[in-house]
Symmetry: C2
Subunit: 215 residues, 2 copies
């Protein structure tokens, strides 16, 4: 039976999806900003991060309020606790997009990414975009098949991260230590972004099946 409680639960789900949409936009803009040294786009990402933070604060307050008023039973309570955790992961993914954009801004008007690494960072951006797209679908449709796929996409991100490090360590690397430091951190931001996507996908998988994913 539908009731006001479930309407509020749906509204919380919708806010999580809204957060995921903003995180997707933030990371794809941040990737664009760092690949093209576009200061305007970088500033847009940095400004938008406070919007994501505000949605999280509001969402968490509503979630806790709903717990207090409705005293939900086991499965609904678990959904609400999971919402709190998913909003924390999404907020952190927004921070990581913000870090990418700040690196673009720090090196502007120069390009932060040397030519040799443009293909790798482009690919990391694509995987990040694919991950968050799939994640939105997993969250919206409680899609366990796609939830499992996200772990494979994360393997792809880890491989790209290893590729990036091997470029930094190759004899052909002529950009010195400063750019190597930047690229190490940049790679880490994408890698952690993917880790948080996996974390959310696992929570959805667990909340649907009652089991932990094993791959």
């Amino acid at each position: 039976m539908r009731n006001a409680f479930h309407d509020e639960l749906d509204a919380i789900g919708a806010s999580l999806l809204q957060m995921a949409g903003l995180v997707k936009l933030a990371m794809s803009d941040a990737t664009l900003a760092i690949l093209t040294a576009d200061l305007t786009v970088a500033e847009k990402v940095i400004a938008a991060d406070t919007v994501i933070d505000d949605i999280q604060h509001d969402l968490d307050a509503r979630t806790i309020n709903l717990m207090a008023r409705q005293q939900p039973v086991a499965s609904d309570l678990r959904t609400l606790v999971t919402s709190l955790r998913m909003s924390a992961d999404l907020e952190r993914m927004g921070d990581l997009a913000d870090h990418v954009a700040k690196q673009a801004r720090m090196r502007y008007p120069n390009s932060a990414v040397p030519a040799e690494l443009i293909p790798t960072i482009t690919a990391m951006g694509s995987v990040a975009d694919k991950l968050i797209d799939k994640l939105s679908s997993v969250m919206e449709h409680r899609d366990t098949v796609r939830a499992l796929e996200i772990e494979n996409d994360d393997d792809e991100m880890d491989k790209l991260h290893r590729d990036l490090i091997s470029v930094l360590l190759s004899k052909e690397w002529n950009y010195g230590v400063e750019t190597a430091i930047d690229m190490t951190l940049l790679g880490r931001f994408y890698e952690r972004f993917a880790d948080h996507a996996v974390s959310i996908a696992r929570r959805v998988y667990f909340s649907v099946t009652g089991e932990y994913s094993t791959n």
Copy 2:
């Protein structure tokens, strides 16, 4: 009036303190392992991380179970939600100690840290130790004065992190890109460790005062 509910709440607080104690030991051992290239200590930290993870899983299950059974009112509910968040931060701090130990293991039998950076990493380890010590006291005694001090200690960590980067960028840096990559990540692990300590301190501050700390 004391009752079974408050006994369970106390037990949850005790488990959080136990986690903090294990995280303190993990990070101080990890620092020792990386400064002295001690493989045995590194392996100990890596093995102990699953203990921290297990305590978190158990603690979170007890916390959610308590929410479901006791249907706590506003302030008690807020305490339980805060516990879930604090356990997530502590678990992540354990991961970061594990990452430090894994870097020591990866470079063994060589020392991961070049001589020029021994003082900086030693200092980062000391600040991490001071932070987690203070944090335990903040958690145990709901000490808002020390909660605010933790933000200053975090500034100290950020300064050490900048010092570390400036050594990597100095003309005297003779260790090449690979060691610079390692040291960049190592610095980031300590910096994030401190960030999570600040996050927990802010939660305690908010839960005691009802206000966000402003410094």
